[in-house]
Symmetry: C2
Subunit: 299 residues, 2 copies
């Protein structure tokens, strides 16, 4: 197989590259911890090294998504304003001023002063999900969960909940660090996870009064320290879903991977919210494949 | 003036000692960063040094409140369960098994499995506030804000909101660190503080969707980076008050000090919640004075 271009998902802390043929099939790959932050000031070298490692010619066309296009990244790929058609995302890719054909896909911005928001990377994941006709709402859970309203291929609105980052900050940098052990992923039927979900789903605004109870319950021997991670996951995922549930006005697609997908699916079920799921593991690659094929088959 | 006893507010990270005469007047004092954590394993030496520094005899009776009575402190002073009469708090002080008469006041616990909670130190502040007849609700804003339902001298229920600690964790250990500058205290009429308050007071459950907007608004040049601290303060204080407002069923007393008191007062006013204020700066000392006079005038 002959690669048509290289697809790169260049995040804040990770780098993944695939060589793709004209049909989107993988004919080589390379990955490493060379995210935007550690690559600052040497983006060309990092890319060249991964191209070589995957066995690609140095002048293969390259399509990049993610934080490499941020202002503090390689070259800024300005945000595309809403509504944004993902099937035309490739038209807004910007060329890196260098030899060869290297392009970076834009992120999306919602320039509403009452609800400003940005994404960078998730737009490519969205493009890589199974397409739908008409309105739908997509939940991409994670460090910064995105809830994205779409109409066919167009993103019309979105919001961000910093659930994963809140979990990390609370469990490492507050008094809750004494009560949330490092633990294997919480199973979605964990009683402490479900009990915490029920508490906050019944009264989402009160989640802020529930956080310290995690610590107090353990001090008073009313809760087991080993359940701390399940308890905190339930509070934060439940609060996210509780905050969004009044706004669910279209068929909901939950697009995630692994244990996090399982926890969100359990939480949505507990909340009585209907949804379908999609595996988002390879969504970035599929989105890059689609956008790249449109760029280089047009050429 | 002859000191009758020494009163000590021994917190996690700070130590304050006053020599008090039989009428509660101050006749000497000493303070330092010798909180429970840095004093671990040498509580007697730290206390003796501050007694000497204040000019007290080494065998003066001592009454302590705060984290020195925690399990990981000097000697555990077990939590007093609710309802707890603060005018009888002194009866539950425990003696440190040492020469001289050194006692530590207990904290309070709410052993309700559906809403477990603990306080240690705030009970003494509450005792030091102007007394009231009948029901009242006291808000003590801070690192861990306490909202305390009382009936005369009895604490009947309370809850904790980790507002100050959330502010620190979000502004130092998440992506918001790029958007929340170190700044002088926010004035209570700051437009960004008031705008953020209005957002979350109107929909407290949605606060989790508002946090990332702080970052996005700055990236999109819709908000000024210098306003980041006022914005985050407004979101978190507004969310605290929004979460508690449905539960305000008694006259509200806001007991705080300095800039934080001003911010909470502005937020309560913005929320249309009636309240009175008390200066909590010396409440711990006054509470210790009351409890100590009851111990050593009974003797």
């Amino acid at each position: 197989m002959q690669p048509a271009f290289a697809a790169v998902d260049w995040g804040t802390t990770s780098f993944r590259l695939w060589l793709l043929d004209a049909a989107g099939a993988i004919c080589g790959q390379s990955a490493g911890p060379d995210g935007m932050t550690p690559s600052a000031g040497r983006f060309p070298e990092v890319l060249a090294r991964h191209l070589a490692s995957a066995g690609a010619a140095a002048d293969l066309p390259v399509l990049i998504c993610g934080m490499a296009g941020a202002r503090q990244g390689w070259i800024e790929a300005p945000y595309l304003p809403l509504p944004a058609r993902l099937d035309r995302l490739h038209e807004a890719a910007i060329r890196v001023p260098t030899e060869g054909d290297i392009r970076i896909l834009p992120g999306l911005c919602q320039s509403d002063p009452a609800a400003p928001n940005v994404m960078r990377g998730e737009e490519t994941q969205l493009l890589g999900l199974p397409p739908a006709k008409g309105p739908r709402l997509v939940c991409l859970p994670g460090t910064h969960s995105k809830w994205v309203w779409m109409d066919g291929p167009a993103v019309t609105r979105f919001t961000t909940v910093m659930t994963g980052e809140l979990y990390a900050a609370l469990s490492q940098h507050t008094v809750l660090r004494h009560s949330v052990p490092d633990a294997p992923p919480t199973p979605p039927d964990h009683p402490a996870f479900l009990a915490a979900l029920d508490l906050v789903l019944a009264a989402p605004a009160a989640v802020l009064t529930r956080l310290f109870e995690l610590r107090a319950g353990q001090l008073l021997d009313l809760a087991a320290p080993r359940d701390g991670d399940a308890h905190l996951s339930g509070l934060l995922i439940g609060a996210e879903i509780g905050a969004l549930s009044p706004r669910i006005d279209a068929p909901l697609l939950l697009a995630g991977t692994g244990p996090l997908l399982a926890l969100y699916a359990a939480a949505l079920t507990r909340a009585g919210i209907p949804f379908t799921t999609a595996d988002a593991a390879e969504a970035s690659r599929r989105g890059l494949a689609l956008a790249g094929s449109r760029i280089w088959s047009d050429a």
